[in-house]
């Protein structure tokens, strides 16, 4: 048995192979990371986590890139070594039938492949801890826009405590300029089960848990519509609990706030529908400010027509869709908690007509 000599030689060869593989992959990674940063991945998906448009998402994007580079390097090195070993040390056709030299171990090598990973872990941990601190412990500026987001099965309510109104399913926030940051701070609560607020291009997700208030913040740099959806399984229609964040210029945002603060339009031509809203008990769950409807179980409908979608983002807000929804909510969105209320077609038309006036 060639134990001592063979072992020393093989150890040396392994070390050389490691070193040359490391050099080769450092170069590859440099190119890879350059192209990673250069390509704009936004068109791939409206919810691409690698197309950040807000400080928390950008911080995450940067640390992700760093972690991807390190893990990528480890992958290339170990993958190459494995592939090389499997190919190089395969049993040959002309094998002499002898067992190969038996090598039982090497303390130096064990030490090497313990210390090296420890160093990598230290680096990764320190850079991660820095980002955790920066995102999580960011001080809330006094002039930040405050929103209380409450998760419900299967929709979102948004209260604006600074402006004394609440709305549902479509969150509006002002764009935040680097020179004049106006971040939005969201207090996250749950009315029933666990949910999670996730708009990938703006921030990582944060859960909404009963008896466990959370906070998250965003400062979107670009005007536009950002999509997301509930990311914690919350029951039957979890998949239909979509998120829409409208980022507006400060002026547009103020106009929107002003409009939302107004009580509901009182249009005498739809008085039949308005009466039905009471007699059919809709008011028990929904609020329409300026009327006796002050329920808190379902979405605030005061300015329903200012929204693009209904049913938590799954349907465009058209009269047909609204009518379909009222006729049988659970048929449109399985598991929806709004009950099917017994109504004639005419009553359905009247109540839809009423809701259509809530601009």
């Amino acid at each position: 048995m060639i134990l001592s000599g063979g072992r020393g030689l093989r150890t040396f060869r392994l070390a050389v192979a490691v070193r040359s593989a490391w050099r080769a992959c450092a170069l590859t990674l440099l190119c890879a990371s350059a192209s990673f940063a250069a390509v704009n991945p936004a068109p791939l998906s409206p919810t691409n986590i690698f197309a950040p448009e807000s400080t928390p998402a950008r911080s995450i994007f940067r640390i992700s890139g760093f972690v991807l580079e390190i893990t990528g390097a480890i992958f290339v090195v170990v993958f190459s070594l494995l592939a090389y070993a499997v190919f190089k040390f395969r049993e040959r056709k002309d094998d002499d039938g002898h067992e190969p030299p038996q090598v039982y171990g090497s303390n130096q090598m064990e030490l090497a492949w313990t210390v090296l990973p420890v160093l990598i872990v230290v680096v990764l941990f320190l850079s991660t801890a820095q980002v955790i601190h920066r995102v999580q412990d960011a001080r809330e500026p006094a002039d930040a826009v405050q929103v209380t987001a409450v998760g419900h099965q299967f929709w979102w309510s948004y209260e604006y405590p600074q402006y004394h109104f609440s709305t549902a399913n479509e969150l509006h926030v002002p764009v935040s300029d680097a020179s004049d940051p106006t971040p939005t701070y969201l207090r996250l609560l749950s009315a029933d089960v666990d949910h999670s607020f996730w708009v990938p291009r703006l921030a990582g997700k944060t859960d909404l848990i009963p008896n466990h208030p959370n906070t998250t913040w965003i400062d979107p740099h670009q005007v536009g519509l950002y999509l997301g959806q509930c990311a914690q399984f919350c029951g039957t229609s979890h998949a239909n609990m979509l998120l829409r964040v409208y980022v507006q210029t400060p002026d547009d945002f103020q106009r929107w706030v002003h409009a939302q603060e107004q009580p509901a339009v009182n249009d005498p031509s739809v008085v039949l529908g308005r009466t039905l809203f009471v007699t059919k008990a809709c008011f028990a769950c929904h609020t329409i400010r300026g009327t006796i409807a002050a329920g808190k179980v379902g979405p605030d409908l005061t300015h329903l027509m200012s929204r693009d979608t209904i049913a938590s983002g799954i349907l465009p807000n058209t009269p047909e869709n609204l009518r379909r929804w009222i006729r049988d909510p659970a048929a449109v969105k399985e598991g929806a908690l709004m009950p099917k209320v017994d109504m004639t077609d005419e009553q359905l038309n009247q109540i839809t007509a009423y809701l259509e006036t809530l601009k």
């Binding site: 992700s64 494995l82 499997v86 190969p100 999580q136 996730w198 466990h212 959370n214 399984f233 399985e334």
Partner: protein, 554 residues
């Protein structure tokens, strides 16, 4: 006294005696086989559930399944996979081979062993009884729809009426008792039943790893069992552990669940490491490299894994220093895991690698486990996890570990030890078809599944809107399932066919080195004619190479 303990054989028919023999057996080999067959049946069932889900998700806004059916399927798929496929399968191989490898005649507590198996079996049957209770079978009966993690307060009677959640709780409670029994048995067997000469430092790594697994089962399953009891209390007895309306804390359930749930991952992967650590050396024709380091790394993973659970909770809103702590502990696990990979690599290095089917699965394991480990580091980076958590990236990551790692290791174990268990070889031709089709299917499904996660697709959604850019990736993942299903069919056919028609194996078909190959295939009830005496970690190497035995070097 003497007459009491003698069983008086009753006349009975041959078939009845075979059935009774298996039902009443306390033989570790029969119990092992029952665990394995039981797990195989559930593997096929959970695979069917996966197929249904992949059909549903192949296209956006598909109407193949409704929401409730889909939610039930993923709950059952996950629960079955962990508790009724992976654990019994690994316990099965452990049961069969730990006593053989340490030169014992049976497990330390044969009756506890049988009890544990039957409890586990009953748990699985109870869980699946839910399909046949209430509701229509087509929509999943009253199968649970709360996810395998069953976060409170979704499990409260207000949100989960009916008995689906109760089936889930009771099934896991019962199976958990079985698992704890198995854990006790593995620890006691390895510590007390080793043959003369086999010190702890001369045990096969297989025994070491099952020892660590057994100890972890004791520590990890107990909190789950406790949490299930609390949940039962909340649902039926008016307690308020997790009821927010009465001041209970849903977050506490998360802690209970994950202090079970994360060690559980290692309870599954460490026995898989055990398979690899036995098979890889035999087909490299070399002793395992760095045995003491492998033992230390295993024990290290066992310890550290008890302190990483809240990395499943980075989005729950822990304080920043809490998050940082769990980032650190989680990343530290990478160190002993890396040690293992490097030692396996060094075992290959300088060997003469034989590409028999068990070795093919081992090699695929190494590559796939490497990738699954590296995506694990990404998830351990808490900020990255704020994006990736509960997305399809996570689903891809842990399937890389569970299918690409654990299941591939299990397949390796099947091809390697089937000859010992049945006396017949599995077909190598079919084995290679199985391997390559499985590799193609696995990579089609799970490589491409990372992408929708990066593009913002959450888990556990039964439908998604077109225009999110997720459709094409999901379609590719679904197509991969066809290959995986075909591979499993070939595998099952191979098992059945080879059991009856396979080539005779002989005692030691792989020219291996551990004690199980020193007895007949299949081994007699008493395992060994004479209790073996060993002097090294590879007793059969010593016999085959008297001029150059291991004990001179260890």
């Amino acid at each position: 006294m003497a007459t009491d303990s003698i069983a008086i054989p009753l006349p009975r028919t041959a078939s009845r005696s075979v059935v009774l023999d298996w039902l009443c057996t306390v033989d570790h080999k029969k119990i092992g086989i029952m665990y394995i067959v039981y797990a195989l049946i559930f593997l096929v069932i959970m695979g069917c559930e996966a197929i249904l889900m992949r059909i549903q998700l192949a296209r956006p806004e598909s109407t193949f399944l409704n929401a409730e059916a889909f939610n039930r399927l993923f709950t059952m798929h996950g629960t079955t996979g962990i508790f009724f496929v992976a654990m019994p399968m690994l316990f099965g191989f452990g049961n069969y081979f730990v006593p053989l490898m340490i030169g014992a005649r049976d497990m330390a507590f044969p009756r506890v062993n049988a009890f544990s198996f039957w409890m586990t079996a009953f748990g699985g049957i109870l869980l699946y009884a839910s399909f046949f209770s209430g509701g229509s079978l087509l929509h999943g009966g009253s199968a649970p729809a709360v996810g395998w993690f069953a976060y409170a307060p979704l499990t409260a009677p207000a949100f989960s009426p009916g008995h689906g959640t109760d089936f889930w709780i009771l099934a896991l409670l019962v199976a958990g008792v079985g698992s704890i029994g198995a854990g006790v048995n593995f620890v006691a067997t390895v510590l007390c039943m080793r043959c003369p000469g086999m010190t702890l430092g001369k045990m096969p790594l297989f025994a070491w790893m099952n020892l660590v697994t057994g100890a972890m089962v004791l520590v990890a399953i107990s909190p789950l069992t406790a949490a299930q009891l609390m949940l039962i209390g909340d649902r039926f007895l008016g307690s308020h552990f997790f009821d927010p309306a009465a001041g209970g804390q849903p977050v506490m359930w998360m802690h209970f669940f994950w202090i079970f749930g994360h060690p559980e991952v290692y309870i599954l992967i460490i026995p898989s490491f055990a398979f690899i650590s036995e098979i890889l050396p035999v087909f490299s024709r070399k002793a395992i490299f760095g045995y003491p380091a492998m033992v230390a790394a295993t024990a290290g993973i066992g310890f550290i894994s008890l302190g990483v659970w809240a990395h499943h909770m980075f989005t729950v809103g822990m304080p920043s220093y809490g998050n940082a702590f769990f980032v650190l502990t989680t990343m530290v696990v990478a160190v002993p895991t890396g040690i293992k990979i490097f030692n396996w690599l060094a075992t290959l290095w300088g060997g003469k690698i034989r590409f028999a089917t068990p070795m093919l699965f081992c090699i695929a394991f190494l590559f796939q486990f490497l990738i699954g480990g590296l995506t694990g580091i990404m998830l351990a980076t808490a900020p990255f996890d704020w994006q990736l958590h509960d997305s399809y990236f996570v689903v891809a990551h842990f399937h890389y570990i569970i299918v690409g790692g654990i299941l591939f290791a299990i397949f390796a174990a099947f091809y390697y030890w089937f000859p010992k268990m049945t006396g017949r070889m599995l077909s190598e031709t079919l084995g290679k078809w199985h391997f390559w089709i499985m590799v193609i299917g696995f990579h089609l499904t799970f490589d491409f599944m990372h992408v929708p996660g990066l593009l913002g697709m959450p888990r556990r959604i039964y439908t998604y809107q077109a225009g999110r850019g997720w459709g094409v990736w999901n379609m590719i993942s679904s197509i991969g399932v066809i290959f995986q299903a075909a591979a499993i069919l070939i595998f099952v056919y191979n098992l059945v066919h080879s059991y009856f028609k396979g080539a005779l194996a002989g005692n030691d078909p792989w020219d291996a080195w551990t004690l199980e190959w020193a007895t007949t295939s299949p081994p007699p009830d008493y395992n060994f004619d004479a209790v073996p005496v060993v002097r090294s970690r590879r007793p059969l190497w010593d016999i085959k190479h008297p001029e150059d035995p291991d004990w001179k070097y260890e």
